[in-house]
Symmetry: C2
Subunit: 405 residues, 2 copies
């Protein structure tokens, strides 16, 4: 059926069997219908359901999901069940919007944003590129999930234009740095974890509490200006090379939708310290895809990550740092062992020395007008797959403050 | 006069001539009277004035200053003038609270927190301690203000207890890291700049727009666990060594109160790139003091900082990163050229190798029960000095999640 513009009193939602957005997924987002204010929705098939209408609950009229996320994991489970029950029968016509007719917004107000470095393949590639004669992994890498804080204020929703960043950079052969457009603009395909309920200052969160705190999962493109980053990062880490934009997918896939995607974790050697140890080490079988101007250039497999999502959470709070509703922590670039599984272009093109074919053109780094889309799916219940919302971004240039392509 | 508990209809505020909180200062904070809700106040002498009552304006009933700060610098100037006019005559008795009778809160909701590294003396000391045989300043240090993002969610107000952080650290001689209490807990005395009005994504903020965006100045203690930091920071910078707590003073001193504190900036060589160049390089003559268990151990002079507050702002946004109301950026440790001007204990004790005298005891790093207070003053108008609220913190230990000394 097609809900008509006349809002029939009730409609029955019909979802194709192979849909990535079946009743086993039900990701949350914030949308606005034409001319309307942002409000919470859930995606099912090609439809977006207005949760405030569907469930008659004012928390879903907020312009972010934060208030709902703060209600805790029992409430999340309860709402999920209520949605599943509601869509099994007829739903109010005015709760139903066509996905292509709504505008998606950043689904949550980002509190703190932390970016990890949890792929061994990525860390080894980067180590080999920058320190070709040395051991690629630093001594701390297998002992703890390396991470750092990023800029929460420039986390943006998929579809927002990416202004090519300017900054200070120095060519290795040059005497002096210069300021100007980044010439080595890159992506990092990552998976992000959205914190729903916070924790107390001074009290570490054990890895076993993961599902009590983490509300769901998004895809992340951590845009990176490699020339700016290379010049600035010693000794305090990445700053302006990353802080201009971090894109996230508009749909937060609930943890419950990913139960069938849980897989055994990769072997960890040496054994982690007790605060990072898990009884059942686990990972997530999220299969990512990166397209560059419409051509798929890589398929990063999240199941190959070294550090697990719950280990990252335990580490991030091991010093007593508190969590807040809206904290986002991302995995770092997802790279698998194969060339066609690398999650950044600096790896795919080996620092620009091995251009890749993008349709009929070749590329080293991003050019103006280029568009990158990251998508992913994971095993769902009943043999169906669960889809993540895409992360799309097109690179433009700022002219006197206005964005142009 | 002393406003009595009976709230006389009007009272005249009498401020001693030498007060650090005269009408040339008027810092903003958020306070709660006994049993009352947090609301905006201004400090004058030993009194806190309730701004919502004094100015009959609802924006000051908010539990943070963010809504007021977002109104922009013309409004800030107008409110300051109105306060100065109001306190020149009798004010409503119910607007007046004794400073010692109110509780102070975090004055603003922190959006992003950035920490710089703008003192050359500090950077050289740290370089000499960690790389004794190499050139202490890295090649990028004089080219750009090095900085990184910290954890906004653990910025806390003065007086909040500091739970000794636990974490992973490795002694240089040890084979393996261990997890436990930090044994090298340190402070960093800094000056912080609070952003009032935001900016647009993709548009750098020039250094000349500093006073349009920055609302005021606080003192910062960037507590640092040196053992955790040393093991984790390669290659992505400080993370858990810093993210457990960052204390700020409860009073935001407005920029206008610091006009007499502006001094010429220190000479910069090489000349900065145009985006960091200033027609009139400037600094702030803020004289800081650090006491350890009541004994003054250092007097860091902010006027010796290499990079200026407006250069840090211009750099932070040079890549197009936007500002938001509530952004906090701190200077990094303020250290002067003399030993007794060093702003961290790792410098004062030369990495623990030269213990300092703290009253009748000696200290290398912070012990449980130790208390650190950072204060500062600056030249004000008419020969008076302007005081900053103190940043106080006492180190305790977490026992099953409860704080104890």
């Amino acid at each position: 059926m097609t809900p008509s513009s006349g809002h029939p009193a009730t409609v029955v939602i019909d979802v194709p069997e192979q849909s990535l957005y079946g009743t086993g997924n039900l990701p949350y987002g914030v949308f606005s219908p034409l001319g309307g204010a942002p409000r919470a929705g859930v995606r099912i098939g090609d439809w977006v359901l207005d949760l405030a209408v569907l469930l008659d609950d004012d928390v879903f009229t907020e312009p972010t999901l934060n208030a709902f996320m703060a209600q805790g994991h029992q409430r999340w489970a309860e709402v999920r069940t209520r949605i599943q029950q509601a869509v099994a029968g007829p739903v109010p016509g005015k709760a139903v919007h066509a996905h292509e007719a709504v505008r998606m917004h950043l689904p949550f107000a980002v509190a703190d944003y932390v970016d990890f470095y949890a792929s061994e393949h990525h860390a080894r590639n980067v180590g080999r590129i920058f320190r070709p004669t040395a051991e690629p992994l630093l001594p701390n890498w297998r002992r703890l999930p390396i991470g750092y804080h990023g800029r929460a204020g420039t986390v943006i929703v998929s579809g927002t234009g990416i202004t090519r960043p300017r900054g200070q950079r120095k060519e290795p052969a040059a005497d002096q740095p210069t300021y100007g457009d980044s010439h080595r603009l890159d992506i990092e395909a990552e998976v992000g974890f959205v914190v729903g309920t916070g924790s107390s200052l001074g009290v570490p969160v054990p890895s076993t509490d993961f599902s009590q705190h983490v509300f769901g999962v998004v895809l992340v493109n951590d845009w990176s200006a490699r020339d700016i980053q290379a010049w600035e990062y010693m000794p305090l880490g990445p700053f302006l090379g990353k802080s201009f934009a971090t894109s996230v997918s508009p749909w937060i896939v609930p943890l419950q939708a990913l139960e069938a995607a849980r897989v055994p974790g990769v072997a960890q050697d040496p054994q982690p310290l007790p605060y990072l140890r898990e009884e059942q080490p686990w990972g997530l079988d999220i299969q990512m895809s990166i397209t560059w101007n419409g051509h798929e250039v890589s398929r990063p497999p999240y199941r190959t990550m070294y550090w697990s999502p719950s280990q990252m959470l335990a580490h991030m709070t091991a010093n007593g740092a508190r969590l807040r509703t809206g904290d986002l922590y991302a995995s770092g670039t997802v790279s698998g062992p194969d060339v066609a599984e690398r999650g950044s272009f600096i790896e795919l093109t080996w620092n620009g020395s091995e251009p890749v074919q993008v349709g009929r053109q070749t590329r080293r780094f991003l050019e103006d007008g280029d568009e990158v889309v990251i998508t992913a799916t994971a095993p769902g219940c009943g043999g169906n797959r669960v889809g993540f919302g895409e992360v799309r971004g097109r690179v433009g240039r700022s002219v006197c403050g206005s964005f142009s392509l």
